[in-house]
Amino acid sequence: MEHSRVLRVVVPTLVGIAFLVVWEVLVRVKGVPEFVLPAPSRIWESLIANFGSLMFSLWITLRVTLSAFVLAVVGGVGLAILFSQSRLIEAALFPYAVVLQVTPVVSIAPLILIWVGYDHVEIALLIIAWIVAFFPILSNTTLGLRSADHNLRDLFRLYGASRWQVLSELLLPSATPYMLAGIKISGGLALIGAVVAEFVAGSGTSTGLAWRIIEAGNRLDIPKMFAALLLLSALGIITFFALTWAEHRLLRRWHESALKREN
């Protein structure tokens, strides 16, 4: 194995294993009560014991996260394209997109739940997660669409390119790296949004992982809390790597950020 790979994969793995071993040993030797800090082995047991219900919850959270994420991409990119085509629309709407972003979503969440109704909780969760996730895509894509090389714009004009050609052949490809950076941030935020939404909804009608954590906490079932947390973490990590991989695939042939340097 090459040196850099050892550094990037093996070293963090060893650190992780060492951490778990120290944790396990300390808990056992010191006799830490399970409701304060369960040993890793107990968390694993709990994960296996509750596998069915946790997987179901994982599916709920995943569904909300993915739907919110996809809608954030569609909405963010779509709105950014609209902004790039009309200064008037941008001037009219952008400030409100910012308002939506800077207002803490937790404080709007109860309102959304009331409006949507508790019989459609999943839609409420989706809306909350979407609000959290869509702004980075909107602002990054808007910036990207404005960043096209002005000489290339002139060249397109010289060749008599239509508005649509300028958008599809010049503005969108130029904006892709920006857009992907926004999408990567949004992937994580969609999950955070989904979790926050579940916490706020927290009535028991939603059964996602975040609700499992609250439920297990109320019952002082700390190992199960950790098990749910572990799954949430895994979901976040997988999302991050999937998006990083997609970004690399799309940009590797041309963009500076995806290039390997010799020196």
């Binding site: 090389d149 000489n151 060249l155 010289l158 060749y159 008599g160 490809p173 892709t176 042939r253 041309w254």
Partner: protein
């Protein structure tokens, strides 16, 4: 050399919104098939004049007319910028395909012309490469291939080799001359290098700044093809000295 006028500039003036007068009353005529340089210090409006000819900038006053096409600007104009101005996300082939693509011509129809243009700038085997894989000089060649692929009647070049090292620049100067001789182009070449303008052109329009205007219209009546040996001749040195003096005189008068 055919001498009918390709472009007639009449009393071109340009004042920017900021109040800066970039050009004042520029009139000249560019002959079909000629190689003309616009030479002058920064801020003399030479790039602005080129952009006005291309139709990218509207003059505040004056007219640009194209006698050979009933006065209208031809649909096809080759333009080369100071930077190669390539699309980094597209291969060399796709970059050169751009002018055809924007006209709705299919890759299959355009392919022979694209490969021919790449061959003429010596990059046929780099068609599949991406711009980042090329050197500065090679990128510039791609840019030239893109400008000439549609066989436009005129090639406008805005300080195209200014950012390159001297060795590469001289090589590209020679290549450009060879291409110009082989085709029946008209080239308008903006530069701030006296030596480059004398080496390349049949005619040098020496421009002065604030406001931008044409000070001297110098004919370089040395035969083409010109080679490196031309740079060593007394005639070349004398031309360079004359034009340098003219430029210095203008700078002193400011």
């Amino acid at each position: 050399m055919p001498s009918s006028a390709l472009i007639d500039l009449k009393d071109i003036s340009k004042t920017y919104d900021s109040g800066t007068q970039a050009l004042r009353s520029v009139s000249t005529s560019i002959a079909q098939g000629s190689f003309v340089s616009l030479l002058g210090p920064s801020g003399c409006g030479k790039s602005t004049l080129l952009r006005i000819i291309a139709g990218l900038v509207q003059p505040t006053a004056g007219t640009v007319s194209w006698p050979s096409t009933d006065g209208a600007r031809p649909a096809d104009i080759g333009f080369v910028f100071q930077d190669a101005t390539l699309m980094p996300w597209a291969s060399v082939f796709d970059n050169v395909y751009l002018p055809f693509k924007l006209r709705g011509q299919s890759v299959r129809d355009a392919s022979p012309q694209i490969m021919d243009a790449l061959a003429r700038v010596g990059l046929a085997e780099f068609a599949k490469s991406f711009p980042r894989e090329l050197s500065g000089g090679m990128k510039m060649r791609v840019s030239i291939a893109r400008a000439l692929v549609t066989r436009p009647p005129v090639l406008l070049m805005d300080e195209p080799f200014a950012a390159l090292d001297e060795f590469t620049r001289e090589k590209l100067d020679d290549d450009l001359l060879a291409l110009w001789q082989a085709e029946n182009w008209t080239v308008i070449f903006v530069t701030h290098s006296v030596y480059e303008s004398v080496y390349l052109s049949e005619r040098v329009l020496v421009m002065g700044a604030r406001p931008g205007r044409i000070l001297h219209d110098v004919l370089i009546d040395e035969p083409h093809p010109r080679t490196r040996a031309f740079r060593a001749t007394a005639a070349y040195g004398q031309r360079c000295a004359e034009i340098s003096d003219a430029l210095r005189h203008d700078a002193g008068a400011m």
